[in-house]
C-alpha cells in the first residue's frame, strides 16, 4: 500500500490526508510486527534444535537451549558420536546417510526418465486411445500408496503366482541389493504425478516446432532429445526437486521396503527409531535430525525457484 496516484492525493484535503497517512503507517507497523512475530515463531523451533545439537550432552539434558546465551559452550562431539560412533546406541548415522543417498539418486532418475518418455508419447505421438491412456494414468493419482503397500511387498518377497502357478519368482534380495526394491517402489509411486506434470509442460510446446523437425526427417528419439528435452528442462528440474524431497524425506516406503537395519534403511527410519526408543538422548537426536535436514535444505534453497513454480503448477503429491 505505498503507491497512491498523485491526482488522488491532490484532491484530498490536508486533514484527511494526514489521518490517512497516520492510519496507514500504524496499520503498516502492526502488520510488520505481526509478520515478524510469525517469522520468529516459525524459525525458533529449528533454531533451538540446531543450537542444542552443538551443546555438550550434560547441558542439553539439564538446561534449555536458551541458557546457552548466559553460558555459551559449543562442541561438535554430538555430531561425531551420532555420525561415526559404533556402539549400538550411538546412531551410526553416517551409514544411514549413505543409504539415504543410495536410495535417493536412482529413485529420482528412473521416474524422471520414464515419466518424460511417457509424457512425450502422450503429448506428441498421435495414436488411437491416447486420451484414455492419459486419463488412466492421470486418475491413478487418486490411489493412495497405502493401497499398494501390502501386495507390492509380497510381490517382492513371494513373486507372482496365479492359482498355484508360479509366474514370477520372488526377488529374494539380500544386503545392498535390497535398495532395488526401494527404487522400484518409489519409481512406481512417482509416475502418475510425473507424467501429469511433464505432459502439462510438453503439450504446451509450439506444434510447429515438432512438425518442422518431423518434416526434416527427425526420428522420435531425435525430436525427444534435441527439441523437447531442452525446452522442458525447467519442468524436469521442478519434478526432480519434488521427487528428491519426497524420497529423501519419506518414512513409510522406506520402513516397508528398506527394513530397519544399517544395511539399507535411510536416515528417516533411523531417526524415527531413535525418537521412539531413546526419546531422551537429545544430544544424538538433535544432531542426527540436523544432519538429515541439511541436505534437503541446501537443495531447496538453491532450487527454490523451481520448487515454487512447481507448487503453483499444482504439483503436490497427495
Amino acid at each position: 500500500m505505498t503507491s497512491v496516484s498523485p491526482a488522488v492525493t491532490a484532491v484530498r484535503s490536508g486533514a484527511e490526508q494526514a489521518t490517512g497517512r497516520v492510519r496507514k503507517r500504524l496499520s503498516g507497523r502492526v502488520a510488520s510486527a505481526v509478520a515478524i512475530v510469525i517469522a520468529v515463531l516459525w524459525t525458533t523451533p529449528t533454531f533451538g534444535l540446531f543450537l542444542s545439537s552443538l551443546r555438550p550432552e550434560d547441558q542439553i539434558k539439564t538446561t534449555g537451549w536458551w541458557s546457552f546465551f548466559s553460558d555459551p559452550q559449543l562442541t561438535l562431539e554430538n555430531y561425531q558420536e551420532v555420525l561415526f560412533g559404533t556402539s549400538s546406541s550411538s546412531g551410526k548415522m553416517a551409514s544411514f546417510l549413505i543409504n539415504s543417498i543410495v536410495i535417493t539418486i536412482p529413485s529420482v532418475l528412473f521416474p524422471l526418465a520414464f515419466a518424460a518418455f511417457a509424457a512425450y508419447a502422450l503429448a506428441w505421438v498421435p495414436f488411437r486411445g491416447r486420451n484414455w491412456v492419459y486419463i488412466g494414468i492421470f486418475a491413478l493419482q487418486v490411489v493412495p500408496m497405502q493401497m499398494a503397500l501390502v501386495p507390492l511387498l509380497s510381490f517382492f518377497s513371494e513373486g507372482v503366482s496365479v492359482f498355484g502357478l508360479q509366474l514370477m519368482p520372488a526377488w529374494e534380495l539380500e544386503g545392498p541389493a535390497r535398495f532395488a526394491q526401494v527404487w522400484f517402489a518409489h519409481t512406481c509411486f512417482a509416475l502418475p504425478l510425473g507424467v501429469f506434470l511433464l505432459h502439462n509442460f510438453m503439450s504446451e510446446l509450439p506444434g510447429e516446432l515438432i512438425e518442422a523437425a518431423r518434416v526434416d526427417g527427425a526420428t522420435h528419439g531425435r525430436i525427444f532429445r534435441r527439441v523437447v528435452l531442452p525446452l522442458v528442462a525447467p519442468a524436469l528440474a521442478t519434478f526432480g526437486i519434488f521427487q528428491f524431497l519426497w524420497v529423501w524425506n519419506d518414512l513409510l516406503v522406506a520402513l516397508i521396503f528398506a527394513g530397519g537395519t544399517p544395511d539399507s534403511a535411510p536416515m528417516t527410519v533411523r531417526l524415527a527409531q531413535m525418537a521412539g526408543t531413546r526419546g531422551n538422548e537429545w544430544q544424538r537426536l538433535t544432531a542426527g535430525a540436523f544432519v538429515s535436514l541439511v541436505i534437503p535444505l541446501i537443495v531447496f534453497l538453491s532450487m527454490q525457484r523451481y520448487f515454487v513454480r512447481g507448487l503453483l503448477a499444482g504439483s503436490v503429491k497427495g
Partner: protein
C-alpha cells in the same frame, strides 16, 4: 566413545548405487536407440510401445494390480486365507480402538486445512509488498524442506517435559513455568495431544499456503485494488471484499491439497507418539495392522477406506486444475 567407523563396510552400497545408475543409463540409452532405429512413418505403434511401455508396466505392477489385490484382501482374514465378508469394515466402525482412529483423523482433517490456510493467508497479506517480503516468506517456507520425521523431532524437543522441581529443557514448558504454571506432558493426554501434533503439521504446511496465496494476491488486477481504495475501503473491508473473493480459487486449492495430505498423514504421528495415547490416525493404524500385527485384512480395509475418503477430493482437485489450465 568409540569412533572406529568402518568405511570399508559401506563400499557395497556405493557399488549398488553405481549399478543403479549404470542400469538407468543403459535403459535410457536402449530406449533411445530403439526409437532412433525404428523407422518414422511406418511403425508408429512401435514408437508408442517403446515410449509408454516402461511407465505402463511399472504402473501396472506397482499400483493397479496391488490396489485391486488390496481391495480383495480387505474382505479376507488377517492371514489372507479365508473370506470374512465385511468383518474388517465392521471392526473399523465398531471397535473402540478403531473408532478412536477415525475420530482422530476427523479432527485432523477438520482442523489442519483451515488452520494452514488461515495462517498462510494472514501471513501472505501481512508481508505483501513489505520490505522484507522475500526473506520473510523464505523463513516460513523453510519447514517445507524438512522431513516430517525431522519436524517431529524438532517439536518433540519443544514439548519436552522435565518434572516440576528440575529445570525445563522444552521451550513450551519453560514458557508455562515462566508464566507461573506447572509443566505438562503435552503428548500424553488425549484428546488434547492430537492438537499438539496438529501444530506440527500446520508449522510445516503454512509456508505452502503462504506461497500459493501470495502469488494469487499479486495476481489481483491493480485497477480493482485502486478502485476500492478510491472508494475509501478500510484495510479490513479491502481484505474481505476485494482480496478474499479475488483469490477464492487459490484458497480452495490450498484447502483441497491440505485435506488430501492430512488424510494420508503418517510420519508425524509415528515419530512423535507412535500412535500411542489415543493419537493414531488411519494411515498409521493401517501400517500397524498390516505390517506390525500381521492383520493384513484390517490394514487393507483401512487403506480402502482411505482411498474412498481421498477420491472425491482428488476428483474435485483435478477438475479445478483442468479449469485452471483452460
Amino acid at each position: 566413545m568409540n569412533l572406529d567407523f568402518d568405511f570399508a563396510a559401506e563400499q557395497p552400497k556405493l557399488l549398488q548405487l553405481l549399478y543403479g545408475v549404470v542400469a538407468f543409463c543403459a535403459v535410457v540409452a536402449l530406449l533411445l536407440l530403439l526409437l532412433d532405429r525404428a523407422p518414422m512413418r511406418q511403425k508408429a505403434r512401435l514408437h508408442i510401445a517403446i515410449l509408454l511401455a516402461p511407465a505402463l508396466l511399472l504402473l501396472t505392477i506397482g499400483l493397479i494390480v496391488p490396489a485391486v489385490r488390496t481391495t480383495l484382501l480387505s474382505f479376507m482374514s488377517g492371514d489372507g486365507a479365508s473370506w470374512v465378508g465385511l468383518d474388517n469394515y465392521v471392526w473399523m466402525f465398531t471397535q473402540p480402538e478403531a473408532v478412536t482412529v477415525l475420530r482422530n483423523t476427523l479432527i485432523w482433517v477438520a482442523l489442519v486445512p483451515v488452520l494452514v490456510t488461515t495462517v498462510g493467508l494472514l501471513y501472505a497479506v501481512l508481508v505483501d509488498r513489505s520490505r522484507f517480503e522475500s526473506v520473510a516468506k523464505s523463513l516460513v517456507f523453510l519447514p517445507m524442506a524438512i522431513s516430517f520425521v525431522g519436524a517431529g523431532i524438532i517439536w518433540k524437543f519443544v514439548y519436552a517435559y522435565r518434572p516440576e522441581e528440575s529445570e525445563q529443557i522444552g521451550l513450551l514448558n519453560q514458557i508455562v513455568v515462566a508464566l507461573g504454571g506447572t509443566p505438562q506432558q503435552w503428548l500424553l493426554d488425549p484428546p488434547v495431544n492430537t492438537l499438539f501434533l496438529i501444530v506440527v503439521m500446520v508449522w510445516i504446511q503454512a509456508g505452502f499456503a503462504t506461497v500459493v496465496l501470495s502469488a494469487a494476491i499479486k495476481g489481483i488486477p491493480a485497477e480493482i485494488v485502486e478502485a476500492a481504495r478510491l472508494d475509501g475501503a478500510t484495510p479490513v473491508q479491502m481484505f474481505f471484499r476485494v482480496t478474499l473473493p479475488s483469490i477464492r480459487s487459490a484458497v480452495l486449492v490450498v484447502l483441497v491439497t491440505q485435506s488430501i495430505g492430512t488424510l494420508k498423514l503418517f510420519d508425524i504421528v509415528r515419530t512423535m507418539t507412535g500412535g500411542q495415547f489415543d493419537t493414531s490416525v488411519i494411515a498409521n493404524e493401517m501400517y500397524n495392522q498390516a505390517f506390525r500385527y500381521g492383520e493384513t485384512g484390517k490394514g487393507a480395509a483401512l487403506a480402502v477406506f482411505l482411498f474412498v475418503l481421498v477420491t472425491p477430493i482428488v476428483v474435485y482437485q483435478i477438475r479445478q486444475r483442468r479449469e485452471a489450465v483452460r
